[in-house]
Symmetry: C2
Subunit: 388 residues, 2 copies
Amino acid sequence: MKNFGIAFLAGISALSGVASNVTESGVENCINISTPATTNVPEAQFPRVDNEGRAYFRLYAPEAKDVKIDICGKKYNMTRDETGGWAGVTDPLVEGFHYYFLIVDGVSVTDPASETFYGCGRMSGGIEIPESAEKASYYNYNKDIPHGQVRECRYYSEIEGSQRRCYVYTPASYETDTDRRFPVLYLQHGMGEDERGWHQQGKMADILDNQIAEGKCEPMIVVMDYGNCGYIFGAKPGETREEFGASFTPILLEEIIPFIDSTFRTKTDRDNRAMAGLSWGGHETLETTLRNLDKFSSIGSFSGALFFLNNGLENAYDGVFRNADEFNSKVKIFFLGMGSEENFGSDKISEALTDAWINHVYYCSPGTHHEWLTWRRCLNEFIPLLFK
Amino acid sequence: MKNFGIAFLAGISALSGVASNVTESGVENCINISTPATTNVPEAQFPRVDNEGRAYFRLYAPEAKDVKIDICGKKYNMTRDETGGWAGVTDPLVEGFHYYFLIVDGVSVTDPASETFYGCGRMSGGIEIPESAEKASYYNYNKDIPHGQVRECRYYSEIEGSQRRCYVYTPASYETDTDRRFPVLYLQHGMGEDERGWHQQGKMADILDNQIAEGKCEPMIVVMDYGNCGYIFGAKPGETREEFGASFTPILLEEIIPFIDSTFRTKTDRDNRAMAGLSWGGHETLETTLRNLDKFSSIGSFSGALFFLNNGLENAYDGVFRNADEFNSKVKIFFLGMGSEENFGSDKISEALTDAWINHVYYCSPGTHHEWLTWRRCLNEFIPLLFK
C-alpha cells in the first residue's frame, strides 16, 4: 500500500458503510436473517443474502445524490440515512453467481466490499446467491477430499509476438501418480471474460475435484486460455463480427496445444483431447473443433453463440454435418447445453441435429439464465461423458 | 455475463469515456506522448502514462458533480467536458506500482478501466509507472526464458475449520528435473493485502524466472499464503494490535509447511527453509522465525512493521539477540530492507543490530516509498543470498 494513512482512509470511507444505520430501506433487521455473501472481501459484512435469495447492500456515500443496485437486469434504488450511509435490498434473486454493480450518481462502479471478477469487459462485482447444500454439493469446495491445483502458466506466442497466460488444472493424482499421462479438456470463457472466468466464477476446480473424488469422471487436465474476446461487442477496427475472437484458433492449434503437450504429462492423441466453451467460447469451440476433427474427439457448447442454422445445417462448418455416419464415427461426444430461461437456442440446434441423425447430448439447466450456474451445471454434465 | 444487454450497457457506460473529448484538462494531446498502462483491462486506452511518469485518466460520468484521481497520497481534480466525459492528469509519479482510486461525488471507486488488485483491504485499481527497460529488466516478463508456474493450492486447516488457499511458485526445472528436491521460501504480503499480492503486484514469478535463467539464484519453491491481516487496521473484537495476524504463525508451522512438504518435492531441513515478508508480513516473519530458529535458517524483512526496539534489543523475541555468536551461527541470512523515502525504520534496526554484533544484510532502495517497487527490489536482493 502507498502508506498507511491513505490506505486507512480509503478502507474506512469505502467499507465503514457497513455500520451505518439505515432505517427506511427495509434492511434494518436483515442482520439476523442473512449472512455475508461468500463473494465478499475478507471481513466485509455486506452484501448479505437471506434464505429467499434477497441481497442486501450498503455503501457509505454522504455526498452522493443517488445510489442504485444494478443486478440481474434490474436496478434497485438505495436509501440514504442521516449519516450518509445508503442501503438497499433486491427481490429474491435466481440462485447462482451474478455480476453486479452499484450506480453512484450515474456511474457504474464495483462495490468496494465485493471480490472482483473479470466479466462485462471489466473487473466487476459478483455475488453468489447460494443454492441448497444438496444442489450445490457438486461445486462445494469445503470437502476434505484430494484437491487438484490450478496453475498459471506463461508461454511465448510467436503469432502475437508476446507472452500469453493460461490456467491449467491438474488433478490431485497428477502429483502422486507421476508416471501417468492424462487426457486434456480445453475450456473457454465467454465474451467480455477471460482465462480466469472458469476458475473464479465457474468453480471448475471444485467441480472436477468432487467428481474425481467420487469416481464420476476420469482425472483430466483442463486448460483455460484467453479466447481473444474479452472486450464487449468487440470487433476491433477492421474485424467483422464473424472474425471476433477468430485469432484464437491458430494460437490454440499451433501454440497452446504444443506448449501443453510439451510441458505436462498429457495423452496427445485426438481420443484424449476435448474442447468446450460457453457463449462466445461455444462459438469458438465449434469453429475450432468442427474444422479440425483430426485433433479433437469430443465437443461441448454451453449456451453457445451459434448462428450456423441461418445458412442451413448442411452448409455449416465445411459441410461437416452432411454425412451423419462419418460425423458420428468421428465425434465421441457432441454436447449442447443451455439454461431453460435464456434464449441462446441450443434446443433449436439440437432439434436440427436430431433431424439430421447427428448424435449429440442435449442438456437444459432448469430455471437458469445465460449465467454461470448454467455453465457450472453444463460442465458437471459434460465431464463424466469424456475419455471413456 | 448476465445477459448481453446488461453487459453491453455496463461496458459502454464504464469504458466509453475513452472516446470523450475533454479539451480543458490538459490531456487533449496526450495520445501521441503516452501509452496505455500495462495494468489496464484488455483494450482500455486509458489510463495512459507518458515518458515523465504523468498518468492520464478518463471516466464517463455525465451525472457526477465532482470526480477526482486519488493516487500516491494526492488528489487531482478531473475536468468535465460538454459530453459528460471527465479527464485528468497527475504530476510526474514515482516509478513502480501504485494503488489508486477515482473519487466520484465523494465515493472512492475503482477505475473500470483498471485491473484490480487486493490491497487497502479491498479490490483496488492499480497502475504501473514504468521504469527504464534497463532498471525493469529483472522483472521483465516478456523474455523468452523458461517460466515457472504459480499454482493455486487448497488445503484443509484444522485450526480454522475450513479450506485455505495458497499460491506456490515452482521453478521451470520442477517440471523437467523430476527427481530433484528444492528449497522453500515462505513469502508474506502486507496489511490489507492477501496471498495474491506478491504474484500480482510484486511480480515475484518474473523476478525468480529471470534470476534463475541467469544463474543468479538457486531454483526454489516460493509459498505465498494469507497472513490473516488482510483487513485494514484490523484487530478484530477481542484482538490487540500485537495479536493482529498472530493466528497465522501456528497455521504456517503446523499446517502449511507440512502440506507443502507432503505435496511438493521440497528439501525439508531448516537449512533449506527461509521466510520473508513485507510491512506487516515482515512483522509476522520475525515473530515466526525468531521464535522457531529450529525451522528457519534465513529471514527477510522488507519495510517490516517492527517495533521491537521499543523495549530494547536484548528483550526482543525471547532474547534471541543477546548472544550474537549463537545467533550468527544459526541464522545464515538476516536481511532488512526498506525504501529511502519511507519511514519504516529498517535503518535504525540495522544500526542497533550492528552495535550488538548481529550479522545482517541491510538494503535501501533508492527513491522508493512504502510501495511494491521497494519490495520487488528487496526480493531481488534477497533471493541470490539464499540456499548457498
